[in-house]
Amino acid sequence: MTDVRCETARELIPDLVGGRLGAAEASRVAAHLETCADCRAEAELVQLLYVARPQVPESVTGRVLAAVRADAPHGRRPWWGLAAAAVAVLALGIGVASRSGRDTETVVPGFVAQGTSTTGAWVSDNGMVAGAPALDGLSDEALQALLEELESNGTGGSA
């Protein structure tokens, strides 16, 4: 069992405190803490922060799930499953031609343009999804109205 250096210990203290380390690694880090007052002091602070982390109110689950359900009623294709063409309409409606793709990449890692050769529509959709800075000029009301319009037009309007 190799000795753990301060640098390694300090990186792993949050995982030790949060119970996220395997038994072997946990005991190596704990052994270091026994011999190193500085790392021990840091672990004590991390422990304080961890135990006092805010807990999510129980009401959040219900709220979010209700909102998700309202967003995608049973028996209908969820509106986020709309064709790219419909999203392009949304993008044109919003009129955010000035957006740059570069912002998008940094704002939402993992989100890429799909299925279109020109990324304008998806970039805008992306911006909408991510709340990217370039869309901040739009009022929420304007954005919401567009979203609602798209939803009612794009899903057969059975509601």
Partner: protein
């Protein structure tokens, strides 16, 4: 934790795949797994429990609406928390920074925003540490809380705070260093 027929835990990636098909149970499981982290990020940024709940709801809706474009080389969690942070910043701006101004004036998150049972249980020093955390600059604060509360890697944290992995690590250790000084 949701499991498949063989008893294996279903990955987020699989839940995302099902969610894309409109599977509400899969979406619900994603909410279940990640709402606490999203709430803590939102609360840290907006400083108000009610507003943080609004932000979380909004962030999940945005994330689910965008599932088609989610590539999956980032984890769903990282992606959701990035959206949450952006949504929270937008909510703050819409409020004309009233909340932020109040936070700057008053310092720590008001106790009313914490779960009361939790507040009683954790003790004074822990509450003080947590209050001081709120006084760190945003990137340091998020780096510290994402590393400690959620166990994110510095790479994931970098994605969320818009920095490199190395800068995320520096932000974390700077934040910890300051907190240790303040707590003495």
């Amino acid at each position: 934790m949701k499991t498949d027929a063989s008893g294996e835990a279903i990955t987020d990636a699989e839940l995302v795949r099902r969610g894309r098909e409109g599977d509400e149970i899969a979406l619900g499981e994603l909410v279940d797994r990640h709402q606490a982290a999203a709430f803590r990020v939102a609360l840290s940024l907006v400083g108000d429990g009610d507003l943080a709940q609004d932000v979380v709801q909004d962030a999940f809706l945005r994330a689910f609406r965008g599932l088609r474009g989610f590539r999956g080389d980032a984890t769903f969690r990282t992606w959701l928390l990035t959206i949450t942070a952006n949504t929270a910043r937008g909510a703050l701006r819409r409020q004309g920074r009233r909340r932020e101004a109040r936070l700057e004036a008053a310092g720590p998150v008001p106790a009313e925003d914490m779960d009361p049972h939790e507040s009683v249980a954790v003790g004074e020093a822990a509450e003080r540490a947590r209050a001081l955390l709120q006084e760190l600059p945003e990137k340091q604060r998020l780096a510290v809380q994402l590393r400690i509360d959620e166990g994110l890697s510095f790479r994931e944290i970098g994605d969320i705070i818009g920095s490199s992995e190395g800068a995320a690590r520096v932000n974390y250790f700077h934040g910890i260093h300051r907190l240790r000084e303040w707590m003495e």
